[in-house]
């Protein structure tokens, strides 16, 4: 059973290389996308943090995105 699954009547090398290559590329792409997102979230939260109290208040009140990212960042760190 295991041997059949691995060798697939001689086609194993083609089938497994297709699947492994695809999932490897997908995993790397997922990792890179997630890393970029986290980097942007962190940078955005730090920029909000740097604002004066008044400006920070305006930014968080005016933008749902800013308040969401800022609260998530504060929870994480």
């Amino acid at each position: 059973m295991i041997n059949n699954l691995i060798y697939m009547d001689g086609y194993g090398i083609f089938v497994w290389s297709s699947f492994v290559l695809t999932f490897l590329v997908c995993a790397v792409f997922y990792y890179k996308t997630r890393k970029t997102l986290k980097k942007y979230e962190k940078e955005f939260a730090i920029e909000i943090e740097k604002l004066s109290v008044e400006r920070k208040k305006i930014a968080l009140e005016k933008s749902k995105v800013a308040s969401k990212v800022f609260s998530t960042y504060n929870k994480t760190f």
Partner: protein, 235 residues
Amino acid sequence: MFNFFYNSNIFIWIERVINFINSIFFALLLVALSFALIFSPPDYLQGDSVRIMYIHVPAAWIGLASFTCIALLSILNFIFKVKNFKLISKSIAPIGLMFTCIALVTGSIWGQPTWGTFWAWDARITSMLILALFYFLFILTQKLISDEDKANKISSIIAAVGFINIPIIKYSVEWWNTLHQPASIKITGTSTIHASMLMPLLLMFLVLILYCALIFLMKYKTEIIRIKKNNLKRL
């Protein structure tokens, strides 16, 4: 008309959808892989090499569908000037390019045991390669041209011109003599693929669509944050 497409409204939903996809993704992937690699039968002619179809065909579908979305969104953006359409197409493009390349590479691997060659200048393969080039040009334009309006106009033209290639890919197997077989799965009309192979194919397609949605949402979220970060400087 396009109120839903305003950044803030969508942003709230993105996190929920990402969490939902994450919760079901690995279970679905396991089921789809079990069917694709173990439970589905080998082909009477191609043997077990037919299993490459479960990656190759959904990847090609996604490559084609992504470019169709990009072209339509670019045209809509031209007419309605909805900035979000540009963001959506910018987020879809890398996913489409990746799956077009996966379709080309897995097709090439499948070609060796089936046709005896990794590559042939067959109408379907060549038109898919042209699609990858259009994706590449679209992404390159967005990355290299710093003037956003100019980049938007040029990339829209690339998308509109590239859209002509989509029906060519679809009907290439009927218009020319190619190594590819005509479509086995038809939305209208009877499909010629057996249910024992159709189910794993649709399952793999579902898994890859969920993966695409996950990547798209993360990329789209990154784009929104990038814009909001620039707006913050104007405060």
